[in-house]
């Protein structure tokens, strides 16, 4: 599979993002800037993709795997979790419910009122 040119292009955009962050001392992470740069390129070159599409699909299909190593980092703070697990757990759970509900309800209202004629619904989950 033609995976080398694709991954190289992704890395070049990431490198560009990281370089911008260092040069201009921006408080955002390099990959996020790299993504915005790639998006801008796609818009300007009207769907240019080179050999990117297959690589992007492969890498995004297994996106959740990539978070596992960082998650294991909790092992460094076992003591703190032992002492404060109830406060931490409750806070994480309730605040995530609040954030999900508030954002989803607001956006649902907006989308319904704007696209009421188009019918966006796809019931899955």
């Amino acid at each position: 599979m033609n995976i080398i040119p694709g991954i190289t292009i992704l890395l070049l955009f990431q490198l560009f993002g990281e370089a911008m962050v260092i040069v201009f001392q921006l408080p955002v992470p390099g990959p996020v800037l790299g993504m915005l740069a790639l998006l801008t390129t796609l818009v300007i070159r009207k769907g240019w993709q080179g050999s990117l599409e297959p690589v992007s699909q492969v890498i995004l299909r297994h996106f959740s795997l990539l978070f596992v190593p960082a998650g294991i980092g909790v092992i460094l703070h076992f003591q703190r979790f032992e002492n404060e697990w109830f406060a931490i757990g409750t806070a994480l759970f309730i605040s995530t419910v609040i954030a999900l509900s508030a954002t989803a309800l607001l956006m649902e209202l907006v989308v319904r009122s704007r696209h009421s004629t188009r019918g966006q619904s796809t019931d899955d989950a």
Binding site: P27, G71, I94, S95
Partner: protein, 242 residues
Amino acid sequence: MTPETLYEAWVYLAASPLLGLTTTLVVYIVCNWLYQRSGQWPGLNPVMASIIVLVTLLKTTDTSYETYFEGAQFIHFLLGPATVALAFPLYRQLPKLKGLWGFILGGILLGGLGSALSGIWIAELLGASGTTLLSLAPKSVTTPVGMGIAEKIGGLPSLTAGLVVLTGVIGAVIGPSLFRLLRIRSDIAKGIAMGTASHGIGTARALQLSEEMGAFSGLAMALSALITTFTLPVVLQYLSYY
């Protein structure tokens, strides 16, 4: 083969990056297989299950996180190019964004600050320490950004990394059921909420449900990283948390 040679082999392999990398992949593949076999039952979320299994393995074999990360860093590294790759699904959904920009920014600001402040207040109410509170604040943004913010406001970056992943898992697990309960129909609304509340792990879950939801979740994740970086430290300073 004597027990000594076996032990020597173990000592040698335990210190090499190969073991940490391979173990992570094998555990994830098995967890993901079980998850698919269960009909994607949320209780078997593969990220959560993998973390529990691997933490147990590291604890029982007395392996340090540093040794493990020697191998796992190769997976961790791919977070960068994967984030860049999110530009793709986003590009394909771009026409649907017309006229929605202002609302999307408002929704992300509401969800991002709501998540941070409610998290801090609840933890404070339940008696968590000051360091925990500050490490908890940036939990809804993607791992590297969250760690950067934690460092700036006086939290512990490595603790934040763990809390960020836990938040992502919680959102990925309860998101779909919560949306059904609240009768959210639009994939745009679901996606923006997933990306705002639970960053990349929420986005990974959203991508499995529909490309549209995944694309908007990726967008919300990127925008919320930008917005939170600039607003959260200011708000916390105003409320004199640091």
